[in-house]
């Protein structure tokens, strides 16, 4: 039993922490969001250079061979930055869904994911996307940051079988509709009208579910990092801001609320650690159940921290200008992606039975 970080993990933590501190202050982030592409291509390139996409790729395939704890360390360090780039998606899901193909793994940063469809909520069954004769038709929603992507990995059915397909974004039969999420991250809908689709061998529904579970567990760590940052910011605000002649932090009620928020964050962190450990040790239903337990528990904490950190900031918390809202919006959005609390409560209970 050992909760300390390895030398490699400490380096990852430092590298990512320094990047966030230097490049992703809340003010810098606002600037990036205002750009046409919804993020800063230069900063994105710097992020790419950190090589985080390699963390979860096996060493014999040119990666760092890291485990779920490594992904967790990166995620928690990224959290305070609310980065606009799809780091975790690439690091965990693209790596897991590449089917071991070197051409994808070497260039994983250029791939995005089309796994969800409008009107299907959190289902991964790709009911509305078909492949026939190497051509894909249908549409995907909530596709992460497409600005840097040359290809999308898209789930679709072919002859009644669910598979994963690689589609070039430059294909004329691919239409993009870009939008920001509520938290400002640039995402998109993709429409396919017969674009060329290349099947990724060995990837079916089970592999997709497992990859999304690993991504979910990694995203939980990002949420923990964001919650900790929101807590720190709230603590700072209460210490500085005065009312009725005293710092807000002198009011017992507000102290207790800070304590409760701290416990939520610590609970969430423990749950993220537990889930990463499960991700290292299990596969199949046990993995899905771990992801669901973590997302349900951490999702609740995320809503709590989002709402109470706004409330404890009072009017300032309601403004777009002051930063706490950025964390709150991120945490709310976190809950709307990859299954909400009810979805994961239900799945964890089904898989326990």
């Amino acid at each position: 039993m050992d909760f300390s970080l390895s030398e490699e993990q400490r380096m990852l933590q430092e590298t990512v922490g320094k990047f966030v501190a230097d490049r992703y202050s809340l003010d810098q982030r606002k600037g990036y969001m205002a750009l046409a592409e919804g993020h800063d291509q230069g900063v994105a390139s710097e992020l790419t250079e950190l090589g985080l996409n390699l963390v979860q790729i096996p060493e014999d395939q040119g990666g760092l061979g890291g485990d779920a704890f490594d992904a967790m360390v990166v995620g928690e360090a990224l959290g305070p930055g609310l980065v606009l780039e799809p780091v975790m998606e690439v690091m965990t899901a693209v790596a897991a869904l590449a089917g071991g193909r070197p051409d994808i793994l070497e260039d994983s940063n250029s791939h995005t994911l089309g796994l969800y469809e409008r009107g299907q909520r959190y289902a991964l069954t790709a009911a509305g996307t078909q492949v026939e004769g190497g051509k894909i038709t249908g549409a995907k929603t909530l596709v992460p940051n497409t600005a840097g992507a040359t290809h999308a990995l898209v789930s679709a059915s072919e002859g009644g079988q669910l598979g994963l397909y690689r589609v070039a974004m430059s294909d004329e039969a691919v239409t993009l509709f870009n939008y920001p999420l509520q938290d400002g991250r640039p995402f998109a809908d993709l429409q396919f009208d017969g674009a060329a689709a290349e099947r990724i061998d060995g990837v079916g529904l089970a592999e997709i579910e497992a990859a999304v579970a690993r991504l979910t567990i990694a995203e939980c760590a990002v949420a923990v990092g964001a919650m900790q940052a929101a807590l720190d910011m709230t603590k700072e605000y209460l210490s500085v801001r005065k009312q009725f002649g005293r710092p807000l932090a002198a009011f017992q009620e507000l102290q207790f609320r800070l304590v409760d928020m701290n416990m939520e964050v610590q609970d969430a962190r423990s749950m993220a650690i537990w889930a990463a450990n499960q991700a290292n040790l299990t596969t199949g239903e046990a993995l899905l159940r771990a992801a669901s337990m973590a997302k349900a528990k951490i999702g609740k904490a995320a809503t709590y921290v989002a709402e109470d950190s706004i409330q404890l900031h009072g009017g300032m918390g309601m403004t777009l200008e002051y930063g706490i809202g950025a964390f709150a919006k991120y945490l709310i959005t976190f809950n709307l992606l990859h299954g909400d609390v009810d979805y994961h409560m239900g799945r964890s209970m089904r898989l326990s039975a």
């Binding site: 969800y116 409008r118 009107g119 299907q120 909520r121 959190y122 289902a123 069954t125 929603t141 909530l142 509709f177 939008y179 920001p180 999420l181 509520q182 400002g184 995402f187 809908d189 005065k242 009312q243 009725f244 009620e253 507000l254 809503t303 709402e307 706004i310 409330q311 009072g314 009017g315 918390g317 309601m318 403004t319 777009l320 200008e321 809202g325 709150a328 919006k329 709310i332 959005t333 809950n335 709307l336 992606l337 909400d340 009810d342 979805y343 409560m345 239900g346």
Partner: protein
Amino acid sequence: MDLKFSDEDLAFQKTIEAFCEDHVSKETRQKIALGHRLSKQDIVDYHKVLYEHGYAVPNWKQEWGGRDWTSIQHQIFDDVTAAYDCPRRLAFGVSMVGPVLQAFGSREQQEKYLPRIARLDDWWCQGFSEPGSGSDLASLKTTAVRDGDEYVINGQKTWTTYAQHADMMFILTRTDNECKPQEGISFMLLDMKTPGVTVKPIILLDGYHEVNEVFFDDVRIPAENLVGQENKGWDYAKFLLAHERFGIAQIGYAKNQLNRLRDIAAQERTEDGERLIDNMFFSQKLAEIEMDLTALEVTNLRVLSDVKNQSDLTFAGMLKIRGSDLNQKLTRLIMEAVGPAAAVEQQDLVLHGRNEPPLGPDYAGGAAPSYLNNRKLSIFGGSNEIQRTIIAKAMLTA
């Protein structure tokens, strides 16, 4: 004891329903139903319709166009207009400065301003909060210094709702520094076009421009714009806030949101094809919130129908706390019911209307912005923490 509406009340309800159906803009109501934001013109148009039908200032004295409705009738009006997705009536003129002028204003002030408020010829805003004063209103610092026939105002207000649309502001100023904070405050009327007034927008979490900072740099207003006596403004403000408390629980709004939630949950299907409204988690939350709303509605009626309860501060605070909690919970549940489609930001659609079709169902775009905007319910107008402090004081000194 009798909890049934009288025949008279039922007839009144029908009248208001017909009014909403026949006279309130369907386009405006649709915007509200979808959680899209109204333009200034939408709000003005609605007020004009209210005015034409005699519903603009029902709470006023009859002399000035009031209707002498019972508390229950006021509640029915609020419930029905909410159920029909009508806008909420703009409070600043009708519910705030109007009653203050009727109670404490000079005859000249009454004749000059009240008819213009009733017709919304003047859009009013409220100059109370200041940066740094927060919930501690009495610590306000904006000064008004008498200079001949004028007051010279310097300082800053903040969280000023719709100052960008406003023609007039009622403002609390400090006119005496040599006494207890509450005793040196005056209540004044200020033309927003006076030189030296600067309005700076504050954008809220949902991207909406609803509140503002307002700066005063040697703003000169006529001394006759003082309401009542100098240094008695705190009393008038307290009167105003007590008046504002009416409808504080926002029952009608909550009921309407609950219906919307049910509609959405009946349309949405889970990954298994089950209707969301039949899902074990969701149906349970619906049942719980329905119970909460039932209890709150009865509490509200207990207050409305009993003068003793109306002056009981524990009730006023409770209606504010429970009402805001409930409405916040409802907007959160609507967002959860919409699900992943609510994660997509469609600010142009929600704020400005857009010609392209919405992404996802038509109710998706407004869900998260409404949720974010409603976080204000427990902060503005006396935060829920302040409400609890007031209730505790009332309980412990009772």
